[in-house]
Amino acid sequence: MKNQTDKLVIVTGSTSGIGFAIVLKLLESGYSVIGVGSKAESCQNAKIKITAQNPTAPVVFYNANLANQQEIYALAHNIKEYLTLNPNLKLHCLINNAGGVRDWYMTTSEGYEYQFALNHLSGFLLTYLMVPLLKDGIVIFTASSSHKHTRIHWQDIMFQKWYFVLSAYKQSKLCNVMTVKELNKRGIKAFAVDPGLVKTDIGNKGMTGITRWFWNIHKKSGTDPEVPAQTYVYLCNRPKSLGLYYYNSKIASYNKEVDKDSETMRLFALSEKLCGISYKERISS
């Protein structure tokens, strides 16, 4: 095992599913890790599970509801403080993995549609807040192959007319890949990972009835979360990789919409507005 505990990786949505598997794999590979989870209790459980195996594992967990932008700011503040207190650590990678599905149209504190805010805007804003710490580090987003079968619904991006869980999900994942494209244009090295179909509880949280039943059957044919976790570690180990979208540690093809500059730039500008930020100001300053 290479000793690279001075390299810090942040993983959001890391108390279960793919995120938790990534944390384990990163610790195995000798990285230091900050995990982020939406519930204090699951953060504690995750920490206990890890330290039971290895009491000195270099991992801490922070609790933040990333659908709420104020909590993202608070999280960023805590991470900065942690790095100041541990000057030997260097932020090597931010993994924006937190995401979810919701059966129903719900609004977040800012009045945005829940999946759009959690799956897309949270990573967008957290990345912005981490850029000054990242320096030559990288950013990874958890996307999904489902992003290939959709486009951005400009006429009603928050699905206020007629909400359908999968349409909102697919669009939010397309947003992830588009964000990656635009970040690279701005000199921030970013990747999207397609984890494939994985046995996680994503379709069980915040869902009811038929959708949950469907997910329980569907996920049986999925892989264990350890499989996609390898792709994340692969990218952490090779931060200079050339691709944009990875599946099974290999460059894979993505939705052609992502290559339309007009689309990605429009999304980026809207996202900046919805977060009340401007990447340009931050980078030049």
């Binding site: 129903w104 609004t107 800012e110 915040g206 009811t208 507005k273 009340g276």
Partner: protein
């Protein structure tokens, strides 16, 4: 168009605020939750070119309401529409609650609503629209939600009468009677615990908020969203009320037991998180 919205920092109130902003209305938002009030204001201003005033106010507190009215008069505001969304539900069985929890239901849902309606009616333009949020529960005798359902019945009857009183002054009054509304993750859990009928009687938040405004502007007096909810209502009118009460009691006992089972670790918080989750609006004042 100036719209006054109570209970605007979460749940249905927030969704209504989004809908009004989307229509380009100027809005005054009030709630006792200042943090979320600021957040929704920011979120809306980033998307829509409208005027928004937020006023923090506990509507059950007379001094708070006086201050609110002073502020409105200072700004010289007159309104074209009022959405009475603020409401709470602390319920389980009558004797399983502290008296204050029961009393608060009446204070918020009835007293506070009457007070603020009176004040805003004195500051109205002509024509004027009022929306009261009653509930599907107002149509049934509801053991284990007795005070809540009765408070919503109060609003239901009051709104109907007020509408007739003020018809000649060109004030039209709409009563919204939703089933469940999946406004946040906790409510989704509660809906799930109710099984098939929980989900079937749940209305879509995005549709209810849009249609409520549409119907109010059209001068409708009552809005029961959802086909199944309407069937329940009609069926209920054909049965003796004693029988309906017995049936409902059986159903609530079951679903509450299930909900308690899945949430037994948070029993200590039960006072804050009522056993019968508030399905209509989040507990905002």
């Amino acid at each position: 168009m100036n719209v006054f919205i109570t209970g605007a920092a979460g749940g249905l109130g927030r969704a209504m605020a989004v809908e009004c902003a989307k229509r380009g209305y100027n809005i005054v938002l009030t709630d006792c939750d200042e943090i979320h009030l600021v957040q929704i204001k920011n979120g809306l201003l980033r998307q829509y070119d409208i005027n928004i005033e937020i006023i923090v106010c506990d509507l059950t507190n007379k001094e708070d309401v006086d201050t609110l009215i002073k502020k409105i008069d200072f700004l010289n505001l007159k309104f074209d529409m009022m959405l009475n969304i603020a409401g709470i539900d602390n319920e389980g069985a009558f004797m399983s609650r502290k008296y204050d929890q029961i009393g608060d239901i009446v204070k918020v849902n009835v007293e506070a609503t009457l007070h603020i309606t009176y004040e805003i009616l004195n500051r109205r333009n002509t024509p004027f629209n009022i929306v009261f949020v009653s509930s599907l529960a107002s149509q049934f005798p509801m053991p284990l939600k007795a005070t809540y359902a009765a408070s919503k019945r109060f609003l239901f009857d009051f709104a109907l009468s007020l509408g007739v009183e003020l018809k000649e002054s060109k004030v039209s009054v709409l009563t919204l009677c939703p089933g469940g509304l999946a406004t946040n993750p906790t409510v989704i859990e509660a809906i799930d615990a109710q099984g098939f009928f929980g989900k079937a009687t749940t209305n879509r938040l995005e549709i209810v908020s849009r249609k409520t405004i549409q119907k109010a502007l059209r001068g409708d007096t009552v809005y029961f969203p959802g086909v199944l909810n309407n069937l329940f209502r009609i069926f209920n009118n054909l049965l003796p009320r004693q029988m309906v009460a017995n049936l409902i009691h059986r159903r609530w006992v079951k679903s509450q037991a299930k909900w308690l089972n899945t949430n037994n670790q948070s029993m200590a918080n039960m006072v804050k998180t009522p056993i019968t989750q508030n399905l209509e609006t989040k507990g905002v004042i």
